[in-house]
Subunit: 431 residues, 2 copies
Amino acid sequence: MAVITNVVTHDIRFPTSLSLDGSDAMNPDPDYSAAYVVIETDAADGLEGHSFVFTIGRGNDVEVAAINALRDHILGLDIDELLSDMGAASALLNHDSQLRWLGPEKGVMHMAIGAVVNALWDLRAKRAGEPLWLHLSKLTPEEIVSIVDFRYLTDAITPDEALQILRAAEPGREERIQNLLDSGYPGYTTTPGWLGYSDEKLARLCKEAVADGFGQIKLKVGADLDDDIRRMRVARASVPAGFPIAIDANQRWDVADAIEWVQALAEFEPAWVEEPTSPDDILAHAAIARGIAPIRVATGEHVQNRIVFKQMLQAGSLSVMQIDAARVGGVNENIANLLLAAKFGVPVCPHAGGVGLCEAVQHLSMFDYVAVSGEMEGRMIEFVDHLHEHFITPTVIRDGQYIAPTTPGAGTEMLSTSIEEFTWRGQPASA
Amino acid sequence: MAVITNVVTHDIRFPTSLSLDGSDAMNPDPDYSAAYVVIETDAADGLEGHSFVFTIGRGNDVEVAAINALRDHILGLDIDELLSDMGAASALLNHDSQLRWLGPEKGVMHMAIGAVVNALWDLRAKRAGEPLWLHLSKLTPEEIVSIVDFRYLTDAITPDEALQILRAAEPGREERIQNLLDSGYPGYTTTPGWLGYSDEKLARLCKEAVADGFGQIKLKVGADLDDDIRRMRVARASVPAGFPIAIDANQRWDVADAIEWVQALAEFEPAWVEEPTSPDDILAHAAIARGIAPIRVATGEHVQNRIVFKQMLQAGSLSVMQIDAARVGGVNENIANLLLAAKFGVPVCPHAGGVGLCEAVQHLSMFDYVAVSGEMEGRMIEFVDHLHEHFITPTVIRDGQYIAPTTPGAGTEMLSTSIEEFTWRGQPASA
């Protein structure tokens, strides 16, 4: 019998604010960071589970404290038993009645639980010798349903309905796995569109994005309307006619502002409008969606849990669901989100970027394609060309496609040298 | 010029799980705790601002870490300037773009911000030599509006509409202040209804509650329907005909369960059904409200912020709004909540109990009565007879009424001896 012998945390921060990479209307100077966790066991294989919460700097220490608060929940547990029932493993953390008070199921504590759950999935996939997407894609519909916490979901989707969706996607799984291995999964890029960039840099990066084979670009908007009009004009002039350009307001607006602002940009035919308002505001998203139709609303990177996604689908708040690998309670809750999206027929186009989010979330989109929605049409994963070099298995993009990872694990393990170099010591590491 | 010289935190935990005080269907064994903060200055008056986040045990250390993460935001600031514009003081914390990633405006980080904001209000009221409720009640409508962050609210209430509500309540302020000083504010009690109590204890405590002059009692439900039916029967037999008995499910149900369970208890005429489902589920609350009408839905102790309250009012999710003094971003955000309730004509009956929540929230209800809703009809503050002895100015209840505090401050300062005795040292203090 092997047990969990240690849960190690690291406060890792990259000084990205120095270059304005990642600048948007709400986040002018992020320092991309990771509250990082390593789960160690005494198994002979020597394998570890690695994962993290992504933050943008200050407060990364609070996430580390939250992960440390979970240490005693899993230390000493039989790792075979724990990994054999990941639904129970997640419940062990999410259903702690005292910790639940700090959410429930939202914010700092929930993200920390997500990191620990994801580290367990990383370890499980490594032990299976499979990349996480493939490991998940080989589960039976019954096994997948057992991973999901259906509490607060049954007015929208029951376990039986989930089973039906998963069984309907069973035919063709092998073919879709082969498709992924052959051709990968579509990506789109946000690299050109950060607010801090000059028009010249924007134009150059737009052209490069098209040349690199991406199927869509995205621009940050919402700080100043005249600037946004000018930048959209620059971007439109830099890409072929009809090329999709999404816009992202990062929660800047109230309802009336959102509708007015987006209508002022409508001539540039945005592919979608992302995060027009508060991620908590289901009804405002729905009102905005009605107000700007047929332009689509996309949201999700800050959606706190499956319960809010459920309501957004019920209320017609979004047309594109943007799950995030490190915001909710881990792989388990994201499988609930994928099932909800499939039930409502909404495409999932994950949020990525930051630190390691591309590495992590690609596994979920690929699993969705193989075993849940069975679809790739209208779906793509965000790509931002930052900080990949710090990961053991960095995302590989070719002709705008995410190449399916084949290395065992969840893709969330950083290089030990990067962990060492960028560990926070009270001031930024040298840029 | 006086500046903030220190921000001191304490991890305080009471071993309440040993007596099953506070036991309910979701929280079987809480250890009532406070992540406590003291703001010190170098002013000659020697006054300090005290406040806390209430938690139920494990994770209290995470809240302490979150408060500590705010330390550098206020250390060294000019205290006169900071306290003179509490809207700006709150924004200083809530609008930190990096910390915002950890919410936004929800969970651990938001509660920590609320504690710091409330400690500033405690200090401000002490410096004014007034209890907080009276201090707030003397502000002009314009000053009150300046305290509120209207971001994400303007589709329901604008600053101008808030001004109208506050101006309409200006006549009669003095008379209502005198009413409070003369007669206090109605309370109701949850003391009889904890799940862990025997039927005999329940019956005895129900009779005592009526004899003590409380206008309503509340029973925890949701663990077992047969038990609930039996306990409601015991409670009904222990009080006069027609005496209001509310029930509280503490988030146990999905929509269909909630409607079925409440209908099975309908014969006992519950005064309201509290927290029937997830506090995040605006649409489920609305569906339940429709399904159990005319029985009323009450909720709010776990509602994360004003944005969710706004939607619950827009969607008809609740008929009774239960603000909590230590869940949202402090006094500022609770004033937003009071204004929303006034706009929608919904009574506010605050959640209290725990550690110091009665002491804190009475100030908000009294301010609401004087300066916002101008109403007391149909309103009351929860009362639980636990842990008051640890506060400098404990809540005083007489004939079921909260007696208006007259001591300067927000009521949130604990005795230094209690802080010392119940500081967490890795195991429970002796009971």
